[in-house]
């Protein structure tokens, strides 16, 4: 299994997945023309990690804006993480970073985390 890296574009976030560190980070605005096409490799990377690593995974979301289809993909990622959480015994930690002046993004994060049993942290940041 290899690391995953997507460079940020106008419509897609930076994606960094490091197998050795057990770390995945998605940073930046997300409104790609085809969200599934963009997020599919991330789904696959997570599934591979779950199948091959079976250890602690830290996931950072730091997304100032995402469109509706991206939010569906984030939900799917969280579903995968939730499954991993059940199978790996709580070895998943998600941090939802939000601009300290953007209460809406905090609210979106809380909405997304609602009903999940994962360890879900909310961290403000300032520019």
């Amino acid at each position: 299994m290899t690391d995953i890296t997507f460079t940020k574009t106008t419509t897609t976030p930076t994606v960094t997945g490091r197998v050795a560190d057990g770390f995945l980070e998605i940073t930046g605005e997300s409104y790609p023309e085809n969200s599934v096409e963009f997020y599919q490799p991330i789904f696959q990377w997570l599934r591979d990690f779950m199948d091959s690593q079976k250890r602690h995974l830290t996931v950072y979301f730091k997304m100032p804006y995402f469109n509706t289809s991206s939010s569906k993909c984030i939900l799917d990622i969280l579903d995968i993480l939730q499954s991993y959480h059940y199978t790996s015994g709580g070895a998943v930690e998600v941090t939802w970073w939000y601009d300290e002046s953007d209460e809406d993004m905090l609210e979106s994060g809380k909405e997304l985390s609602d009903g999940l049993d994962l360890k879900f942290l909310f961290m403000p940041y300032s520019d």
């Binding site: 085809n34 969200s35 599934v36 096409e37 804006y65 469109n67 509706t68 289809s69 939010s71 569906k72 993909c73 939900l75 809406d104 609210e107 979106s108 909405e111 997304l112 609602d114 009903g115």
Partner: protein, 382 residues
């Protein structure tokens, strides 16, 4: 198994298990499931399926909702499976209910997140509108300031125009009392100007009969007379390359070879002296005043310039000035009294009458001459 999808039997089945298996949420599931069951195998089922496929074919939606579509397809396959027992059917129904609940939760989350995003958008629009208004106000203020600036610029331009006119007047005044080159140097910041000129000719005139006239007419009349006569001399300056230095009472002083050196300085000074005599004759003929004029000339080096800080006058210093003045004071009415230096300069051009040696104060005896014959003037003037 076909008979279990009859309306009465099927309606009863989910309701019986609702309270013990799925709780309240099953009510929605029940309705949806009932609807699906009732439409099973009918033309409307085909229409809904086609409609869903058309919707899913749009904008990669099918790919995004792949698992959900699989659930739908699986549901259809269950409905078409006539071999399932009632217990098996209920089990499938339970699993589908759970799926439906999960989907409902996801739908609710997406709806709320969409609402948050929309609210954010609306807030952003409001902020943009407020910013737009602020920009409009700023633009309006900027326009007002621009207008005021324009007015200020116009005022400044007007003042500049006035200033320019005043400057031109001042320049003209300066040029009236100073040679142009000297005025320019003064404007550039030189505060003391004293230039040495090796070859110049200095001319002094004095009105003869003026003292008697002054006792006969008023001072005002005398001043008017002098003004008229000297203005005529000033008029001649435009035609000769000589520089008026100043007037002292009824004396008119000029020089040639300054501030621009010229080889024929003596010739030009002599020509101007004759022109002054001719002008005086015309003046006497016109006014009848009994006046005449002595003219003295001497050629030599001078220092020319401006000294002091007030009431600038372009003046000359040196023996040449003193000797020219002596030539005038020792001269005779209607004649141009010259030093030997002038004689040597102009003897090829003008006729001279030798006056002999006269005692010049401070200089001793000097040979002097009268320049008497203008007709011998070989100058060609325009």
């Amino acid at each position: 198994m076909r008979q279990i999808f009859s309306s009465t039997t099927f309606l009863a089945a989910p309701c019986v298990h609702r309270a013990t298996v799925w709780g309240k949420r099953i009510t929605l599931t029940e309705r949806a499931f009932y609807k699906t069951c009732m439409s099973n195998g009918t033309p409307s089922d085909t229409r809904e399926s086609a409609s869903a496929q058309a919707l899913m074919a749009h904008d990669n939606i099918a790919e995004m909702f792949k698992s959900e579509l699989e659930t739908v397809e699986y549901t259809r396959s269950v409905l078409h499976n006539h071999t399932l027992s009632f217990e098996e059917l209920l089990n499938e129904y339970r699993l589908l209910g759970q799926q439906y609940e999960n989907l409902l939760k996801q739908a609710a989350k997406l709806t709320r997140i969409g609402d948050v995003a929309q609210r954010k958008l609306i807030n952003t629009k409001s902020e943009l509108a407020a910013q737009s208004q602020a920009i409009e106000r700023a633009n309006s203020e900027l326009q007002e300031k621009n207008e005021r600036l324009k007015e200020s610029i116009e005022e400044i331009n007007q003042l500049n125009l006035v200033l320019g006119n005043e400057q031109a007047k001042a320049d003209n005044l300066l040029l009236n009392i100073l040679p142009p080159g000297i005025a320019a140097r003064l404007k550039e910041g030189e505060d003391k100007i004293a230039d040495y000129f090796e070859e110049t000719t200095v001319v002094f005139t004095d009105i003869v009969g003026f003292t008697n006239l002054a006792s006969l007419v008023s001072t005002t009349t005398i001043v008017k007379l002098l003004n008229t006569l000297f203005s005529r001399f000033d008029g001649l300056l435009d035609h000769y390359p000589v520089e008026k230095i100043k007037t002292i009472g009824d004396s008119y002083m000029l020089a040639s070879g300054i501030p621009t050196p010229q080889k024929d300085h003596a010739l030009q000074a002599a020509a101007f002296a004759f022109a002054m005599l001719n002008e005086l004759r015309r003046f006497v003929a016109e006014t009848g005043y009994p006046i005449s004029m002595r003219i003295g000339m001497h050629s030599g080096p001078v220092v020319a310039g401006i000294i002091g800080t007030r009431k600038f006058v372009y003046d000359l210093w040196g023996d040449t000035v003193n000797i020219a003045s002596r030539m005038e004071s020792h001269g005779q009415p209607g004649k141009i009294h010259c030093s030997e230096t002038v004689y040597r300069e102009l003897s090829d051009v003008y006729k001279f009458e030798r006056r002999g040696a006269i005692d010049i104060k401070g200089k001793g005896k000097m040979d002097t001459y009268f320049l008497i014959d203008e007709a011998a003037n070989k100058l060609t003037r325009g």
